[in-house]
Amino acid sequence: MAAELDVDRLQAWVREFARTVADHRDELTELDSAIGDADHGTNMDRGLSAAVAALDAGPPADPAALLKQVGMTLVSKVGGASGPLYGTFFLRMAGAGGSGPWDPAAFATALRAGLDGVIARGKAEPGDKTMLDALAPACDALDAAVAAGEPFGTALAAAVDAGRRGRDATVPMQARKGRASYLGERSVGHQDPGATSTVLLLEAAASTLAVPQD
């Protein structure tokens, strides 16, 4: 039986993402110190804490409403580059996945819509040393695994794997977008903070969205 992604499960995903970002806040900020302005961890943590607080106040009725609320909260609370990017990501997911409980295919479709939203908003491409370098390969891996009929847990694990490889691949890249691009060659040798937080997003998906019976 295919996993059913209802609002509770997606809520668990967002909460787990928030929790791991809080755990890794200093690490994300540290990465951003090296090639940015030392705020990525603080930014993401502020936004996700607000998103969780809004969920605590009363969770929305369906997946689309849930992710829309998360996206709006991130847009309103984060600022910087990651606010509009992660915000747009969740808003586009919300718009693409429909209101009823999602199946894995719907989730994959929504995730790709989120990815497209990040590209439309930030105008970066894979290889620019941004969060896209983790998100794009993860989407590809998820699509392939879902299309191949893999269990959702396996599919998500493949997405995490691809995301981690993409994140690690940002290390040798020279940044061409965002603040790190100001460093030119000096951006080489550092891991992108946004790609790092994106892997936390994917890991949170793998640990919360795949039901045991998959």
Binding site: T29, S33, A34, I35, G36, D37, A38, D39, T42, N43, R46, V75, S76, K77, V78, G79, G80, A81, S82, G83, P84, L85, R121, G122, Q174, R176, K177, G178, R179, S181, Y182, L183, G184, R186
Partner: protein, 334 residues
């Protein structure tokens, strides 16, 4: 980390309380949205000027709100651009019927958040919004391989000059054109002797050992393009001016506004030492200084260092620069 603050997460809110207490009448502060408004905003029939950005650059931008300059400034978290909601509320709050100019520094975050705000304004009301993006920092290559040049010192000069034009009643299109002209005619370059410390991060953004400095540093503690041994002011002035003079034709006879800006931890005596060297180089290069500005106007928390900005000016720009301005950070003629 040693700072005169309460809690790192309260810095922006606390500073806005301080501004409100220090400038009653002149400013009106929306604490919830973290917007510094001109006390009498919206001014009917006048183009409204809205800027904003991460906090930590004071007096920019909140200190440039007032007659003859900005109508509102949105204060983001430290070094984090404001969110669209703030920019939307600021835009609505300064709309006097003649449209609103957004003055945006060219950083990915700032550009995207102002863009989203402009989309929201268009969706919600008929207010006409034009955005002008500043990108004057020659430390960054303006190519497909970067996010483009950063907006730095020219932003301050642009806010003053566009503010004067708006105050004169010039229409939005004209104010926006003028703003673009200012941006096109200005170039900047900065350097740091020490790093700044983002309050929430709690430690210096980068390590800069005794004896070394960063050339081409950004105003958010982004490391510069290269690290070199500390040099005398005379050589630092050369390092900063050389790429500026190479990038735009500040030819013999051109009048410029020369701006030596402190980054927050550098005292005025050092800025005057730097200005002496800048003025000497300009004189040798046959560039005429029409106006000058020396002080800490666009800071990077407590970073020690400075930036130099040159803006080519004609008579109209000089007149607009000289026009009365009354803000906490820049004031004359009134």
């Amino acid at each position: 980390m040693k700072k005169l603050i309460n809690n790192p997460s309260d810095v922006v809110a606390d500073a806005l309380r301080g501004m409100a207490a220090a400038h009653p009448g002149l400013l009106r502060i929306d604490h919830e949205n973290r917007i510094v408004f001109r006390g009498d905003a919206p001014v009917q029939g006048k183009v409204g000027l809205v800027s904003g950005g991460g906090s930590g650059h004071e007096p920019m931008h909140g200190g440039f709100v007032g007659p003859g300059m900005l109508d509102a400034a949105c204060a983001g978290e430290v070094f984090t651009s404001p969110v669209p909601d703030q920019v939307l509320a600021a835009t609505q709050g300064v709309d006097g019927g003649a449209g609103v100019l957004h003055i945006v520094k060219n950083y990915t975050g700032d550009v995207m958040n102002f863009e989203m705000a402009a989309e929201m304004v268009t969706a919600e009301s008929g207010t006409e919004v034009v955005a002008v993006v500043t990108d004057d920092d020659v430390a960054v290559q303006d190519s497909l391989y970067t996010a483009g040049r950063r907006g730095v010192g020219v932003t301050v000069l642009l806010e003053k000059i566009a503010g004067a034009a708006a105050e004169q009643g010039r229409p939005l299109a004209e104010v926006a054109d003028l703003a673009r002209t200012v941006n096109a005619n200005g170039r900047s370059m900065g350097m740091a002797l020490t790093s700044c410390t983002v309050p929430a991060a709690g430690k210096p953004t980068f390590d800069l050992p005794e004896g070394e400095m960063e050339i081409g540093v950004g105003i958010h503690g982004e490391p510069g393009r290269r690290r070199v041994p500390v040099a005398p002011a005379r050589e630092i002035a050369e390092m900063l001016l050389e790429p500026i003079l190479a990038d735009l034709d500040f030819g013999a006879g051109d009048g410029v506004l020369a701006f030596v800006n402190g980054l927050g931890g550098t005292p005025l005596i050092e800025l005057y030492v730097m200005y002496a060297e800048v003025a000497a180089i300009l004189e040798r290069s046959g560039v005429t200084v029409a106006r000058s500005l020396v002080g800490s106007y666009m800071t990077s928390l407590e970073m020690a260092g400075c930036s130099v900005t040159l803006l080519k000016v004609d008579d109209d720009l000089v007149r607009l620069w000289d026009a009365p301005v009354r803000t906490p950070g820049l004031r004359w003629g009134v």
